[in-house]
Subunit: 243 residues, 2 copies
DNA sequence: TGGCGCAGTATTGTATGCAATCGCTGGTGC
DNA sequence: GCACCAGCGATTGCATACAATACTGCGCCA
């Protein structure tokens, strides 16, 4: 597993987590290079640990690792995006199947508390709102008690975030909150077809934001796909050597 | 990813592959320690590469990595086994859904050739037969064109092999060959419900070999379970179709 | 005699150093 | 003027060295 290191020095895990968050928040744009040296100095560790973290991120599909050419933030193609969504759909349907009608009161309470948090964040913080909307699905997976499912959903959700950052329109969270509420109700009611339909529709909505439109006007994403470098970095010789 | 290194020195990948095969063939039993030094000297490389390979194997769930205590071949619990099977079922159903009625002649030919190879190996080589039976599922995933699905199915199938080596009865391949043939027929016919039912039944059969019987007499598996973890309740009949 | 603490050893975790490879810049020939 | 190639800098791949931690056996004490 990936996380069984709640021990003393989860240093590599810390780097992994930090880079992951940076990528998902688009602080590191798809296609951006990730030099080991720079990251190592930034985190105050050696390249060894950075390498390990990058390897894990590559296994999750968040970074691309080309031999002798270093690591860069992954820039999934539309075909890959479709693949990811198809699998995510199957996994999440598995989760709602497992939970439907078996939701214990404490579990339902956790879900509802989470949606409340979503609703609260919706008004104030955009990034927080997006993050919470994603974590709702993680929570669902966690409640199934299937650790592997949780890991997979986490990985797939991450990739989806990356994909949406490439191809997606801005996230509108209000519908998500409502759909999450409806799903909880269906889970409590034990209405399996409704659960599946709701989840399916919900994911289709997310997917539709990414895959259907050619997304006119935003050529940055397109360029990022065809050029190996991030758009917003004009100066090429910029070196942060021990600055 | 595991495969995007068809380049010049896939040395780490070679070690990864070798260890993987050794584990799946039970040359390395679940729970066996995997000292970095020893492996490194055996392969004629440094510990660095071995570490990378072990990390990948850990990500696949084939080895367990405990901090400051090194790596050992994973020994999944029955609960983990159930989790793996539930997810594998969902993934393989996704695959047959994607292929059902869309099988091109060349693809069908590949499947049938593979089953022929299975049938041929069945008479002669036991290990080869088992390997081919597993690779049939990999081939199905590959034919969907969904690379991520292929990766997941590969990982899940590996874990299943490991689980069967712990809890399973000896593999009887004849039924598998017949079931594979039937599945191909249903795929060609485009009979989606039949496809799903066949795959479901097929996987349930595999799963049943592992999860139902207490497997009397083999205490190695039992000891492996109770060695490093708190002893769960005695092996009761797992609910196969729970998910 | 059996349990406990303590050193020695073995093994892992991390850092650093060296060689190899890639991409780029400047030069050269056509 | 453009394309090609050689040299160079930057960056990665891998190995080794050092430090930290967990496991072994032995001696000590109750």
């Amino acid at each position: 597993m990936t996380e069984p290191d709640p021990k003393s020095p989860p240093r590599a895990a810390a780097i992994h987590q930090a880079l992951r968050q940076a990528i998902l928040e688009q602080a590191l744009a798809p296609g951006a290079k990730l030099p080991e040296d720079l990251i190592a100095s930034q985190f105050g560790v050696s390249r060894t640990l950075v390498r390990e973290a990058l390897g894990r991120l590559a296994a999750e599909g968040l970074v691309e690792l080309r031999h002798n050419r270093g690591a860069s933030v992954a820039a999934p193609s539309l075909a890959e995006a479709r693949d990811v969504f198809a699998i995510r759909r199957a996994m999440e349907l598995l989760a709602v199947d497992a939970l439907c009608g078996r939701l214990e009161p404490a579990q339902a309470a956790r879900l509802e508390a989470h949606v409340e948090a979503e609703a609260a964040a919706q008004a104030t913080s955009g990034p927080t709102s997006i993050r919470l909307a994603g974590e709702f699905h993680l929570l669902l997976a966690e409640l199934t008690g299937n650790a592997l499912l949780q890991r997979y959903v986490a990985e797939l959700a991450s990739r989806c975030s990356l994909i949406l950052s490439l191809y997606g329109r801005p996230h509108s969270a209000d519908c998500a909150v409502e759909e999450h509420r409806a799903l909880i109700a269906a889970l409590r009611a034990g209405d399996a077809p409704a659960c599946r339909a709701l989840m399916d529709h919900h994911l289709a909505a997310v997917m539709g934001r990414a895959l259907l439109p050619p997304k006119p006007g935003d050529m940055r994403a397109v360029l990022a796909r065809y050029a190996g470098t991030p758009a917003p970095s004009p100066p090429r010789r910029a070196k942060a050597r021990s600055a």
